[in-house]
Symmetry: C2
Subunit: 233 residues, 2 copies
């Protein structure tokens, strides 16, 4: 099946959490937003032109006749088909539950530079600084600590095979390193399992090839993980 991903071009954003599993699985997918008239195509999808359940925001995925939105739900829908989730209900549910925690974490990452989504960063720098300070002190250690504890000495968060959740955590570590390099430099010794997981994922043949390709967009100051030195420690 050829999957069609609809996500804003030019940024990794939440779309990257969908791209990584497609790349790991060697799936046939089109990143429609990055093609010709990609943004128009996305706007049409948001207006409901694919039918099915109306999406509120990208990413949106067309998988055969199914149109599905919300990052965690897209992963829940395609995970088992891609071989990146257990096939049984209990395993799928466990993975989805943890992925929803990842999504909560990402929203808090976003809020460090955008306490409100409606203003430019430049127009809310003071607010962002306070939010980022608390994020570095309290929120980031709590979320990453949760996954570190879940992982323990094992190689994968759930089960004994790589899942989309492991790929998401790779992206979280990579993104945190980009956005908060000083903070992460200090903090990484408290999350050795996650750091090792990141490194193992980066070395998987298809992921390594992807990361070296043009398909992997760079991190940057339009994305979810942004490096503003004044927000780092």
């Amino acid at each position: 099946m050829r999957y069609e991903l609809f996500y804003w071009p030019g940024i990794q954003g939440r779309g990257e959490f969908i791209r990584l599993p497609f790349e790991e699985a060697g799936a046939d997918y089109v990143d429609v937003g990055r093609g010709k008239d990609g943004v128009d195509a996305i706007l049409k999808v948001l207006a409901g032109n694919l039918g099915g359940t109306r999406p509120y925001a990208p990413p949106v995925l067309k998988a055969g006749k199914v149109v599905v939105a919300q990052t965690a739900l897209i992963l829940h829908h395609v995970g088992a088909d891609l071989g990146l989730a257990p096939k049984d209900d209990a395993g799928r549910r466990a993975l989805h539950q943890h992925q929803l925690v990842v999504m909560d974490f990402l929203k808090e990452v976003h809020d460090t530079h955008h306490p409100t989504s409606s203003l430019y960063y430049e127009d809310q720098k003071a607010e962002a600084k306070r939010v980022a300070t608390q994020f570095r002190k309290d929120r980031m250690p709590k979320y990453l600590g949760f996954f570190e504890e879940l992982l323990g000495k094992r190689k994968f968060i759930v089960g004994n095979k790589v899942t989309y959740l492991d790929l998401s955590l790779f992206q979280c570590v990579a993104g945190m390193r980009y956005a908060f390099p000083k903070t992460m430099k200090k903090h990484e010794k408290k999350i050795p399992g996650l750091v090792a997981l990141h490194d193992r994922i980066a070395e998987r043949p298809r992921i390594a090839k992807y990361l070296a390709s043009e398909r992997r967009l760079p991190f940057g100051e339009n994305g979810l993980f942004r490096h503003y030195p004044e927000l780092d420690s």
Copy 2:
């Protein structure tokens, strides 16, 4: 089956989005957090003592042998059994997708008084005011407008029977009226469908009985929807 809900006592919070479906369905459930040593019980659950998939935060539900967390996922898990979700995969997925949008909305409601969760409101009033202003102007109309459009002239958001999503939207309207009464007074004419949905839900026999009972906690300034007049228009 007797369901056990683990949620902080004294507030509606995200727990209310679970209580409402239980009440509508006349389900047998225990609100463990509100019983003797309720908070201790919640802390043990967060420490993993129920086994199964480790929860990150309340609400957590024990449904037979299943332990499940994350508000939207709890609803996804119990919805069909309670008769408040379609039984087919496509219908369940549609409902879950929309519920995830509700959860995003609730996080933005929370952020109007807590741009960072780590500080008291009193210590971030200036930041909260800016976030709340943009919320009232942009974010609230966008979210509520989305559901208003989905609903159209129909009685329920998905299908032709009440679902947990309708109950969630009832709670969103009720909460917005409590937290932002001036804003909502003006805005309600733009969302007549949602207002009518709210009123229909409030009149459902079991919901009406629940709302009049002691089980329905009042809104208040420890919850998700908080009324701080300075954040309203």
